[in-house]
């Protein structure tokens, strides 16, 4: 196990690398159900559904057809930590795109994804 630097990270949708990205984040959550009963001293929980979402930020390009990527449910999402290590979800839905233009700065774009995969996330 080693530390890593995000410079070598990458994001792919399907087989296509999203160009000029500056960050990604992955949020994995597990629902819980409160099963505490009268007479218990401590609260009890049962695990529920596991889910993940991801977001990506980068520099926007004029040639990128971003809106067409919204709602596409059958794309694999691969989040590379470095060249050899990555999270893979066979399917993820692009749930949002925010593109910004500012007179004093380069254009920026961000994507958000929701997991849509019964097999969940795999880490290689």
């Amino acid at each position: 196990m080693a530390f890593f630097h995000g410079k070598a990270a990458l994001i792919k949708i399907g087989a296509v690398t999203i160009e000029s990205t500056v960050s990604w984040s992955l949020d994995v959550t597990a629902d819980t159900v409160d099963t505490t009963a009268m007479g218990d001293d401590w609260k009890k929980h049962e695990t529920g559904f596991i889910d993940f979402s991801a977001s990506v930020e980068g520099y926007a390009k004029t040639a990128r057809a971003t809106v067409a990527q919204l709602g596409v449910a059958d794309s694999a999402l691969v989040l590379y930590v470095d060249a050899d290590s990555f999270f893979t979800a066979d399917t993820a839905i692009c749930t949002g795109i925010t593109e910004t233009a500012n007179k004093d700065d380069t254009g920026k774009i961000s994507y958000s994804f929701a997991g849509n995969d019964s097999s969940g996330l795999a880490y290689t």
Binding site: A8, I11, E19, Y59, A63
Partner: protein
């Protein structure tokens, strides 16, 4: 080719591509002009730069650089010729798409100017630019 060399070469290439009417009668130089230069001439300097990297390989980055153009004229006419030189320079460089192989120009932005001075009949001023390029082909 390093980015300093690339940017400065691109400025010279862009200048050399201009119509003669938009050029300075004694030329554009990098860092220094010949000692005895007279007439209207401009010297530009690389005032430093920075790199804003994004994910990927070592050269995946936005390159920022500050350029300083120093305008000189030995025509002692109260600054009229100097103001014409300012117009020529800004018309030719403000937000122009300066071509660098392997990079895409994001901006060539005028960010300021220095005072107008006259020493021994030589009128001069400076114009500052901030330029930004990103690796790629468009």
């Amino acid at each position: 080719m390093d980015i300093l060399n690339s940017i400065c070469s691109a400025v010279m290439t862009h200048y050399n591509s201009l119509d003669d009417s938009k050029k300075f009668n004694s030329g554009l130089y990098f860092c220094s002009a010949p000692q005895e230069t007279t007439g209207d001439y401009v010297v530009f300097d690389y005032d430093g730069g920075s790199t804003d990297e994004y994910m990927g390989g070592a050269d995946d980055a936005i390159q920022l650089a500050d350029l300083r153009f120093s305008l000189f004229t030995t025509v002692d006419d109260g600054g009229f010729t100097l103001s014409e030189m300012i117009d020529k320079l800004t018309d030719s460089f403000d937000w122009r798409d300066i071509q660098i192989d392997g990079f895409v120009s994001i901006k060539f932005q005028r960010t300021g100017n220095g005072p107008v001075l006259c020493f021994d009949g030589i009128w001069q001023t400076t114009i500052l630019y901030e330029v930004m390029f990103i690796k790629g082909d468009g």
